[in-house]
């Protein structure tokens, strides 16, 4: 066994332990930290397997940004997981079948690390041999990413942009007012407002000469508007009863 193989096996075992610990723990804070460790160990494994760019990104994103976002969420939703009420037989069967099919599928694959693996035969040698002549970029991953497959990378940029559009649509400016239909009209209300409160508000609005619905300023980036932090949400949970 070469040292590289040894490291490979140790890291894989570490990953398995971390993964199982994630399943077992009921403390979400611990689970988030373990997920971060999982990413970091995978990043190490990527380095062992020569994927330095992937390792870099995984360490920055999986262990960094993802963990920060998860922690930010835990701060908002709490970190206790309840005990599951039913024994998860069906998921277990699904997982076993899926895993079995995957193992069946890999059983005739070229062995790990084989240079004559068809994956390494067709398109890849072209990149390794000709990309320097064509782009003068020594890092083949960069030249493939930004030139040969730049359309994919365009999609990737669009995906992160889509994510921020989605998150701002969902999270910008505190608990969002909502549009609901009341008494034949569409109006904007704070979340958690009950129908009775609504009726009163609606009455006041019509009497007050139709003061328009409070749509709020146009500021999609205002998720952290300091002024916004002052006003508390009116009666959260009014709808929950």
């Amino acid at each position: 066994m070469t040292p590289v193989e040894f490291v490979d096996i140790v890291l894989l075992i570490l990953l398995a332990i971390t993964g199982i610990a994630v399943i077992r723990t009921r403390n979400l804070f611990a689970a988030v930290m373990l997920a971060g460790i999982y990413s970091l160990v995978s990043a190490g494994l990527f380095v062992v397997m020569d994927a330095v760019d992937v390792a870099f990104t995984e360490a920055a994103v999986g262990a960094g940004i993802s963990t920060v976002l998860l922690l930010g969420t835990l701060a908002l939703v709490g970190d206790k997981e309840h005990k599951p009420q039913h024994t998860p037989i069906l998921p277990l069967i699904v997982v076993l079948i899926t895993g079995g099919v995957l193992i069946y599928g890999t059983s005739q694959m070229p062995p790990f690390g084989a240079a004559d693996n068809p994956a390494n035969q067709h398109v890849a040698p072209y990149y390794l041999e000709d990309s320097y002549d064509e782009t003068h970029v020594p890092n083949v991953v960069t030249s493939v990413l930004a030139s040969y497959r730049s359309y994919d990378t365009m999609g990737e940029t669009a995906v992160v942009f889509t994510a921020v559009v989605g998150v701002l649509l969902l999270l910008a400016r505190g608990p969002l007012p909502q549009r609901i239909h009341h008494d034949g009209e569409w109006i904007t209300v704070r979340p958690g407002t009950t129908r009775e409160e609504l009726a009163a508000q609606f009455k006041a609005e019509t009497e007050g000469g139709g003061g328009g619905p409070e749509g709020g300023g146009v500021d999609p980036g205002g998720g952290a508007d300091p002024e916004d932090r002052g006003d508390t949400p009116s009666g959260e949970g009014g709808e929950r009863g």
Partner: protein
């Protein structure tokens, strides 16, 4: 300029998305979305015309020859699907302006149109690309934007519906990635045409059937074939009206297209239907989808939910057509992609009109609407007739081809079950019609007809569903040619 249309079809809406976001004003964002949708309609129609006269169009992005670079590849099949998507986009967007103003707070409207444009370009990107990994990238653009738009629904259950969709959609996408990886390991390429060439040599390896299985399951999750449809009814029910109308007529259709592309072009008919016995799996599943989901729809009391279950049943018809593995069957499937987009678009838009005035689409709230909103309910009846498959509507054309395909194989049972499905559609459409036309309104709340800005787009789709039902020669011709192309195994 016209030679760049395959790329421009996707990237013009895509660049308009950040422009809409930066403009930060509802009107400007809407203008960008409007321009993007109509540009897509123009470009896709021009491309379909060109494909019909000149054959396959290949566009090498960045000037890199495939399979080293990414290729956009248009044949009759995906040009047809692109036209379907773009048509619905172009009709829904003017509708969205009025509808969205009611259902979404003003400060979120610019971002809403941004998400709309992203979803449109994502769907078009999936349709025109000739690279399997690129499919995944654009699939994620369209899915993520779809999630964020569904979550904007006014009912808080929109959030849980979206979360469920996000989980199931991500599992589907990850399965697709696994399938792509397995294919890549055995062939060393990601280009679809190249894969089709290189796959037959390694078909005997166990990896390829597993890749096929994972791709099929992943795509089936995305297209909501029974029993993987669980995300769809809630997502369609709680999304804002314009989003439901757009998604119901496009997102699942693009997934059906992907299924066709993988089955026929990449793996080939012989592998998919010979070795993998696909028809043995897909046919029972689609029949169960048609019958069970129609049955559930009959007992639904929320009309949007009713239509959503009906959508799952209709997806069953499309997959049933594919599962015959014959030219007639695939023609029926392709035709139903287009036809169902027209009629379901019309039906959901009619429900959007009801939502606009009544604020709810519960059946009980719709009593007497036939008199109060005559045009809206007439549009609903028009779309409903099509859903049932009455002659002179597009629904009839699809069913006609489907029954023919069944009879061609001597499968009387399937033909009979398709008829029963139609009868069940009659029952659930009638249920709505009965309440709207034959029950008296119980409250005295004044309800007016929906504004013209909603009615006109709705009626455009209703009229189109009759137009292409009366004169189906063009669509049927294109679909037949496309089906023949697919069964020949690509270009």
């Amino acid at each position: 300029m016209s030679e760049h249309l395959p790329a421009l079809l996707v990237v013009v809406p895509l660049i308009l998305a950040p422009v809409a976001a930066l403009s930060n004003r509802p009107r400007a964002a809407f203008a960008a979305a409007f321009a993007g949708c109509w540009w897509a309609l123009y470009a896709s129609l021009a491309l379909l015309t060109r494909v019909r006269s000149e054959g396959v169009i290949s566009y090498a992005l960045g000037g890199w020859a495939p399979p080293y670079g990414i290729e956009l590849r248009l044949d009759l099949v995906n040009a047809f699907v692109a036209v379907t998507v773009a048509t619905i986009g172009a009709v829904v967007i003017p509708y969205a302006w009025t509808s969205v103003k009611k259902e979404i707070t003003e400060d979120r409207i610019p971002l809403f149109y941004t998400a709309f444009l992203l979803m449109l370009s994502g769907l078009l990107g999936i349709t025109v690309t000739g690279d399997v990994f690129n499919v995944f990238v654009f699939l994620e653009i369209s899915s993520l934007s779809a999630y964020s738009m569904i979550a904007l629904g006014q009912d808080r259950r929109a959030l849980t519906a979206t979360f469920q969709y996000l989980i199931m959609g991500s599992v589907g996408a990850t399965f697709i990635v696994i399938g792509i990886g397995f294919m890549y390991v055995m062939t060393g390429t990601l280009n679809m045409a190249d894969l089709a060439e290189r796959l037959p040599a390694v078909m005997d390896n166990r990896t390829i059937p597993v890749a096929f299985t994972f791709l099929t399951v992943g795509i089936t999750l995305k297209l909501a074939l029974f029993p993987l449809h669980l995300w769809l009814p809630n997502a369609y029910t709680y999304a804002p009206s314009a989003v439901t109308a757009f998604m119901a007529s496009t997102a699942t259709k693009v997934s059906v297209y992907l299924l066709l592309r993988f089955f026929f072009t990449i793996f080939g008919f012989a592998f998919a239907f010979g070795q993998m016995r696909l028809n043995m799996v897909l046919m029972p599943l689609s029949l169960v989808a048609i019958l069970a989901m129609s049955l559930v729809a009959i007992y639904e009391i929320n009309v949007k939910r009713l239509l959503a279950f009906s959508s799952v049943a209709q997806i069953g018809y499309m997959v049933l057509g594919i599962s015959f593995g014959s030219v007639l069957g695939v023609t029926a499937g392709l035709l139903h992609i287009f036809n169902h987009a027209l009629m379901k678009g019309a039906l959901f838009m009619a429900m959007g009109c009801v939502m606009y005035r009544v604020g709810s689409v519960q059946l009980s709230k719709m009593a007497g609407l036939g008199k109060k909103m005559p045009w809206t309910m007439a549009a609903f009846v028009g779309g409903g007739l099509s859903l049932i498959g009455v002659p002179l509507t597009v629904g009839f054309i699809s069913k006609w081809y489907l029954v023919q395909a069944a009879l061609e194989q001597g499968n009387w049972l399937v033909a009979g079950l398709v008829m029963i499905g139609s009868l069940m559609a009659l029952v659930y459409i009638w249920k709505v019609v009965e309440v709207a036309y034959f029950q008296e309104a119980d409250s005295d709340v004044e309800i007016r007809e929906a504004p013209l800005s909603l009615l006109i787009p709705t009626w455009v789709l209703v009229i189109a569903s009759f137009w292409f039902g009366i004169d189906a020669s063009t669509t049927a011709q294109v679909a037949t040619d496309a089906a023949e192309l697919l069964l020949r195994g690509g270009s």
